[in-house]
């Protein structure tokens, strides 16, 4: 029981071990003689992620004789396309782990198995937003892989001290802080504005927190949120080079190189930061994404991946695939996976436990996940198109091709036609 040997929390481990044994025994009873090979595809590539999945698989194969789990790594940029191609040939892997905005698209292929079909499936205890990522027509199609992630404002403590600036809580403070933090050698903040989904994702906390809604993106909340970014760029507090920057690694790189005093980014950066001897509370601090009015609640988009089971392998393989992902929903497994992934456990109680053992840098992320918003909620397969209209408007406004208002009006008419199609 490699997975369960975390110090402390022995009771949690014991509980999980017991439940695993029960699961294992029922498995042995049902299909003792059959040999099953499960295929799995995902885009996880950090050493921690690879190790976490490998260890769990080895343990799973030990408790389920005759079962082999074959994992295939596909780079992030190719996985969605590859899965769709495989769906076209009815040749999907038994198990797939996809980025959560892509979950509805996979469900729409009609080749995903509802998890409600399986004994033992439960939505109890999860952050509602996380488990709802897989909800379609009243059925749940997905379990979170290693929990969830989101973004917050990270800042360079020495730079803020040198400029006598405290971490900004409101937009007005963000503008003045970014200005004060800009010197000849570094910018106040590194934004992400490349032509990709991460730009929309970075802007969403500002937009949603301010009461924004995609269908009426050109009304006040949207105009205000985009004007904030525009001001940061026009002031010279944020580099215009962000038009070609990704969130990770570009913005992270600027932050680490000391070329930006702040950035909006996520906890998956902790391993990278620590490797460069940047530690929470010493080199960097974290506050929630600033809000326009002090009484506003921060609404962040929800990040993370989900397991889905395809119907390509027949019912025995489907059941076995479910047991594989069900085993990962045990609290001890969740804790271990979250730690190695740099994510937040998807169940509220487990996340609280995690906070105690994982350190204070997680605090902001854990608390705001309660208010996190799944990007595809109510939009489903239309989200990728909408996101594209949004990032195009952001780029148009920041590059000066269009005014904030006209860029958002263009986006709004595009979004309206997407929503009505």
């Amino acid at each position: 029981m490699h997975l369960l040997q975390t110090r402390g929390h022995r009771w949690l481990g014991a509980l999980a071990a017991a439940s695993l044994v029960v699961v294992g025994m029922s498995q042995v009873a049902t299909s003792a003689a059959t040999k099953i090979t499960l295929t799995e595809e995902d885009y996880f590539n950090t050493p921690g992620q690879i190790q976490a999945l490998k260890q769990y698989t080895q343990q799973f194969e030990k408790t389920h004789p005759g079962v082999t789990v074959t994992r295939t790594y596909v780079p992030f940029a190719n996985l969605d396309t590859k899965l769709l191609t495989q769906a076209a040939g009815h040749d999907l892997p038994n198990l797939l782990a996809v980025d959560n905005p892509f979950v509805p698209t996979m469900i729409s292929t009609g080749q995903m198995v509802p998890l409600n079909n399986f004994k033992g499936f439960s939505t109890k205890g999860y952050y509602p937003a996380v488990i709802k990522e897989g909800l379609s027509n009243g059925k749940y199609y997905a379990y979170p892989v290693a929990g969830a992630n989101s973004i917050a404002l990270m800042y360079n403590i020495p730079m803020l001290k040198a400029a006598h600036v405290s971490p900004p809580k409101t937009w007005a403070q963000l503008i003045s802080a970014a200005k004060a933090l800009t010197t000849s050698t570094h910018y106040g903040i590194a934004l992400t504005c490349e032509a990709a989904e991460d730009t929309t994702w970075q802007w969403e906390p500002f937009f949603w927190t301010n009461g924004g809604n995609f269908a009426s993106i050109a009304s006040a909340p949207g105009v205000q949120a985009l004007s904030l970014w525009k001001t940061l760029v026009d002031d010279g507090s944020a580099s215009k080079a962000c038009l070609n920057w990704s969130q990770t690694p570009s913005a992270t790189g600027q932050f680490l190189a000391g070329k930006a005093a702040m950035m909006v980014n996520g906890p998956w950066n902790f391993p990278t930061l620590n490797l460069q001897h940047w530690y929470y509370g010493k080199q960097f601090g974290i506050v929630p994404v600033p809000v326009r009015l002090p009484k506003q609640h921060v609404i962040v988009p929800l990040g993370g991946e989900d397991w889905e089971i395809s119907n390509s392998g027949g019912s025995a393989a489907e059941r076995m695939a479910f047991q594989y992902i069900q085993g990962l929903q045990a609290p001890a497994a969740e804790l271990k996976l979250a730690k190695l992934f740099g994510y937040l456990p998807a169940k509220i109680a487990v996340a609280q436990t995690y906070l105690k053992q994982a350190g204070p840098e997680w605090s902001v992320y854990i608390h705001q996940t309660l208010y996190a918003h799944p990007r595809t909620l109510g939009l489903g397969v239309k989200y990728p198109k909408i996101s594209q209209a949004v990032w195009t408007a952001i780029q148009a406004a920041l590059s000066g091709t269009q005014s904030v208002k006209s860029a958002l009006s263009t986006a709004q008419s595009q979004i309206k036609s997407i929503l009505s199609s």
Binding site: A88, Q111, S239, L243, Q395, A396
Partner: protein, 342 residues
């Protein structure tokens, strides 16, 4: 084939056709020596069959690798596709909806315009620089061979690598080009090469010209080598100046090669994809979307395969126009250049 050896006259295709003037079955019946003629015909048939047998794999390959994707792409462009229909062989018929979308979508129209601007600009730049270099290398100077091999380097780099290199060169923060320009005092503020919607396409154009110059240089250089010395000498004797020799003697002689080179350059440029993806991903604000990048985006980022296919078929149309022109020019160039040599 052993039969061949018995009758060496049969081996040549031309002789064969002449030999069997009435190629139908009736001639066999009329012939004075039926057995011999029968073996003749069967031999001919066998050969023809063997010919087809040898051709079949190639035909199957062409059908499978070229015709099938093209036909599928055309079918796709008339369908209402989505991930929900991906597993079915056919999706609901969409009529001309996808084409109507392309003609009304501002980004698609912009992508088409960009593609022509980009291709035209690239060809002009590549030709002028490539031809100049080819002329330069026709002169004798020390280090000529080394310089010539150096020119080929861009050609050897994968496009995506070129994209990354140019991104480093032209990026706003710490880009080598801006640092150089600022240091020598040509500009006061760094230029936003890739972040300015009005400049970004030009920057990619520069990168693509750099990439295409080796191709033009190499082909035009070898054409220049083939210009007969006596013609050049005769022009010199007649008192033609350098410019006159170039314009009135050299260019007309190598014109067929120029035509084919420009046409091939057009085909190579119109389908550029990796370079744009590597440099800007089509941004900022879609100002560098080409037909290729935008149809990829429609198909694989927005999962509207039908719309992506419709846009992509424009490229297919261009290829359909270019292929016969190429064949014509190629045939013409062979005739003309051999005529010149005689």
């Amino acid at each position: 084939m052993a039969i061949h050896e018995r009758d060496p006259g049969m081996v040549e295709g031309g002789g064969q056709r002449r030999g069997s003037s009435p190629p139908d079955g009736r001639s066999g019946v009329r012939a004075s020596d039926p057995t011999r003629l029968a073996s003749w015909l069967s031999l001919e048939r066998k050969q023809r069959l063997a010919g087809w047998a040898f051709l079949t794999p190639a035909i199957l390959y062409v059908l499978f690798a070229f015709a099938l994707p093209i036909i599928y792409n055309i079918v796709l462009s008339f369908e209402q596709t989505s991930p929900a229909t991906i597993a079915d062989i056919t999706a609901p018929f969409a009529g001309l909806a996808n084409y109507r979308f392309i003609l009304h979508d501002p980004t698609s129209i912009a992508a088409i315009v960009h593609t022509f601007e980009f291709t035209g600009g690239s060809l002009v730049g590549q030709f002028i620089i490539g031809f100049s270099l080819a002329l330069l290398f026709s002169l004798r100077f020390p280090g000529r061979t080394f310089a010539r091999s150096l020119v080929i380097v861009p050609w050897l780099l994968p496009l995506i690598v070129t994209g990354v290199i140019f991104k480093f060169l032209f990026q706003l923060q710490g880009g080598a080009v801006d640092q150089l320009l600022v240091n020598i005092g040509l500009v006061h503020h760094p230029i936003d090469w890739l972040d300015n919607p009005h400049l970004a396409l030009w920057t990619i154009l520069i990168a693509n010209i750099w990439l295409g110059v080796p191709f033009f240089t190499l082909l035009l250089f070898s054409a220049l080598q083939d210009v007969p010395l006596d013609v050049k000498e005769a022009a010199l004797m007649d008192g033609a100046g350098a410019w006159q020799r170039l314009r009135l003697v050299i260019v007309p002689i190598i014109l067929p090669v120029i035509e084919v080179t420009v046409l091939l350059g057009f085909v190579f440029t119109v389908k550029v994809f990796d370079l744009v993806i590597g440099l800007t991903g089509g941004g900022p604000a879609n100002s560098t979307q080409l037909i290729t990048t935008w149809s990829y985006n429609l198909s694989f980022q927005q999962f509207s395969f039908g719309e992506g296919a419709a846009l992509n078929n424009l490229l297919l149309l261009l290829a359909v126009i270019c292929a016969p022109i190429y064949l014509m020019l190629n045939r013409g160039s062979l005739g003309r250049s051999s005529g010149v040599e005689r």
